[in-house]
Symmetry: C2
């Protein structure tokens, strides 16, 4: 229904809250004390994002008055929220996502229990193909730069830095594929 897709931060919020209902403050603590910090973590971003997700019907809040003087808004996913998350997780990795955004790995992290083993394998394979394509691009740039005169040597080295990073990601994917394939096939959490 809503036209505008959630942002990466919003998906990270949905993913975290899908694991266990929690308050905005709780979310902030988790983001602040784990590598999830990558996706912002500032209260001034989190509270408005939660409001947006609530307004769009992906989250619901329920007041927890366990401590009377300090009410907490406990968020949990609505069916629409769970559906949006699952639909997102199913999207194949695109070339654009490889750069900058941590979306591919966030989707993988949230795929546990949502996708079957076969689907996870397919996702990782697709990601690997996207990476291979981008690596080819980068090596093309490298060759073009080497052919040119007067390219600053630090520029070449910076490009090499990028290539190493993506090659490393590529190796992790094979490693992850081996791990996932070693699992019992078709283990899939049932929806209730």
């Amino acid at each position: 229904m809503t036209d505008d897709r959630p942002t990466t931060l919003e998906y990270a919020l949905l993913g975290l809250i899908s694991l266990a209902p929690m308050s905005g403050y709780d979310v902030h603590k988790v983001f602040d004390t784990t590598p999830l910090a990558h996706f912002s973590s500032s209260l001034g971003a989190i509270y408005p994002a939660l409001r947006r997700l609530e307004r769009r019907g992906l989250l619901t809040a329920r007041l927890d008055r366990a401590i009377e003087a300090r009410p907490r808004r406990m968020f949990s996913l609505t069916p629409a929220g769970e559906a949006a998350l699952e639909a997102w997780v199913r999207q194949p990795v695109t070339r654009e996502e490889l750069i900058g955004t941590g979306e591919p790995i966030l989707r993988f992290a949230l795929a546990g229990g949502r996708l079957s083993t076969a689907e996870v394998v397919a996702y990782l394979e697709e990601w690997g193909r996207a990476l291979d394509g981008y690596l080819e691009e980068l090596r093309g740039h490298q060759a073009a730069m080497e052919a040119q005169p007067q390219v600053p040597p630090h520029g070449m080295m910076a490009l090499e830095h990028g290539i190493w990073g993506f090659e490393c990601q590529r190796r992790w994917i094979d490693h992850a594929l081996a791990q996932v394939r070693a699992r019992r096939p078709v283990r899939r959490k049932r929806r209730r």
Copy 2:
């Protein structure tokens, strides 16, 4: 004098234009067709950023009327711009910069000709130390997660993905150090 530091995009613009004076359109083309795309590349970001840099006195524009009907604003660095760039390149890598932003590698790329070999070595070593510290942090998280029950396996794997990435960066630094150390010592472009 100006209190607000340039953004990463602005430093990328300064760095590119420092190599050769060019128009906003030229910049856009370079950003659009090279891995520099990482730093945005959209015209709606580039033109305003160039204006800001001009207003702050870091860039000057000079109208190129070579093609009468299509005047181009050719930007080049002012002495203040070159000074700002050089000062930035000298900043050591911080923990925060390791995450998300491509600042450490951009600074390295722009350090060529601005820093002496010894200074570049020091920069890389500092970067390596920052990475080592962050890697320790991440391995601490990993150990803490392994100790906990009910951690989703994909979460563990995602953390591993991050660790692999930073380890790879670490290895690149050693590789770069070897390359830089192999150069003639103290070769430094003179300012004119």
